[in-house]
């Protein structure tokens, strides 16, 4: 989600400018607390950095580095936080081992805002193709 608030700043006496703040992005510096590297599964080419951390406002984000990549030739891949490196769905009990984050359409750097913050039990990021029901990769956060 890209959404924003607006702030009017005075750069000159007669020339106010409008700066758009993207509230889906970290405000100020992003500080990583846990990180890991993606391990590919099923020859999908998944690779790159995953980080969990907070911005200067204390909001939690999941961050994929600019070296993040996976096979998106078929469409989208869904990102989950997980308590293990294996996708373990349990919809009858509210999927306690998974936290749905977002769908990914592009490779490269991206941030995912976690509000409320994810529970500390989640130790892995999983890339999951929900249409074919196969894993594309995982990263252990430590």
């Amino acid at each position: 989600m890209i959404l924003a608030g607006s702030i009017i700043m005075a750069c000159g006496e007669d020339e106010p400018t409008i700066e758009t703040i993207d509230s889906s992005m970290p405000q100020g510096t992003f500080t990583s607390s846990k990180s890991g590297t993606f391990v590919e599964q099923n020859d999908t080419g998944s690779a790159g950095l995953a980080e969990l951390g907070t911005d200067e406002d204390g909001t939690q984000f999941l961050h994929f580095g600019s070296n993040f990549m996976t096979n998106l030739g078929t469409g989208t891949v869904t990102v989950y936080l997980s308590t293990s490196d294996t996708y373990m769905a349990d919809p009858g009990n509210g999927n306690p081992d998974l936290l749905l984050i977002a769908g990914v359409k592009n490779n490269g750097e991206q941030y995912f805002k976690l509000q409320p913050a994810a529970a500390s039990k989640f130790t892995h990021v999983i890339l999951w193709c929900g249409s074919a029901n196969i894993p594309f990769g995982y990263a252990q956060l430590q």
Binding site: G45, T74, G75, T76, S131, N133, I134
Partner: protein
């Protein structure tokens, strides 16, 4: 050509056109007589959850299914020249986790020329026109933001060239076809697609009046190790060994029913980038003979 053999040839003409991108009609050395017509309307069903990826590793996925209605036709312009077309005019496909997408398939229109009639040898040149939309996204049923690209065509222009030779065991009602083909592929968007080689053998037999049976094996190889990363339905990097069998029942002089089964083997050509499962088809045949 003997009468029984002439009819038996028709059995092989339409059976494969949904399942494989390779034009099955081109795989015999015989051509039609001048003014003769063969048409077939078919329904096909395919379903599988066993997928071989580009590295040849098998994996279980959500079930993928495909159904299609297709039209196949050929007409003898001269005794040596036959024009043909092959068009799955309705295709629908999807995973059990997604909605189904609908569309037309790509259109093959080409010609087969008899290089030799005494020993039946033919060469076919068949352009494959990308009539189908290059992208069709199927929405996931669980997550609204998740989708998968399942185009009903491969999104590119390609050209098949096939050399075929046939022989019969007359007076025993048995025929054999041997064929080899080259699929020249072009581009999907910015992705270069790899050319393919195809080889096959087919045998047909007429055990009793009005009934013909056929069986065959076909191999396909990809001529590049640098395969573009695109949806599996575009067939990039696909390699396979397929087997098939079928039966044709002739209702009368002009009409018949054609039933076919297709499956896959792991040898001699290991499967890559393909769902392997059972394929069933049924077709209604109409033909005019001189």
């Amino acid at each position: 050509m003997d009468a029984y053999l002439y009819r038996i040839i028709h059995l092989i003409l339409g059976g494969l056109f949904f399942v494989f991108t390779f034009p099955a009609n081109a795989q015999s050395g015989w051509t039609k007589g001048r003014g003769e017509l063969f048409t077939k309307v078919s329904y096909l069903h395919f379903g599988a959850d066993n997928y071989y990826n580009l590295s040849g590793r098998s994996m279980k996925t959500a079930r993928f299914s495909q159904q299609a209605l297709g039209l196949y036709g050929e007409y003898g312009v001269t005794d040596r020249l036959t024009i043909l077309m092959d068009w799955p005019f309705v295709k629908t496909q999807g995973f059990q986790t997604t909605e189904n997408v609908w569309g037309t398939g790509d259109l093959k229109v080409g010609a087969k020329y008899a290089l030799s009639k005494k020993i039946p040898i033919s060469i076919s040149v068949i352009p494959d026109l990308p009539l189908a939309q290059g992208n069709k996204f199927a929405q996931n049923k669980m997550n609204a933001f998740e989708q998968i690209n399942l185009p009903t065509g491969d999104g590119e222009f390609n050209l098949y060239t096939v050399l075929a030779i046939s022989t019969s065991l007359h007076p025993i009602p048995v025929y054999f076809n041997f064929y080899g083909g080259y699929n020249f592929r072009t581009k999907y968007e910015s992705s270069d697609l790899s050319d393919q080689l195809i080889e096959g053998l087919e045998v047909g037999y007429n055990p009793v009046q009005k009934i013909w049976v056929k069986s065959g094996v076909r191999l396909q190889q990809t001529l590049s190790n640098e395969n573009a990363v695109v949806s599996f339905v575009r067939g990039e990097g696909t390699e396979l060994t397929s087997i098939y069998g079928g039966i044709f029942y002739q209702l009368n002089e002009n009409w018949g029913i054609d039933l076919n089964y297709f499956g896959y083997l792991n040898q001699p050509q290991k499967p890559r980038n393909i769902y392997t499962g059972s394929v069933f088809s049924i077709g209604i045949v109409f033909e005019l003979k001189k």
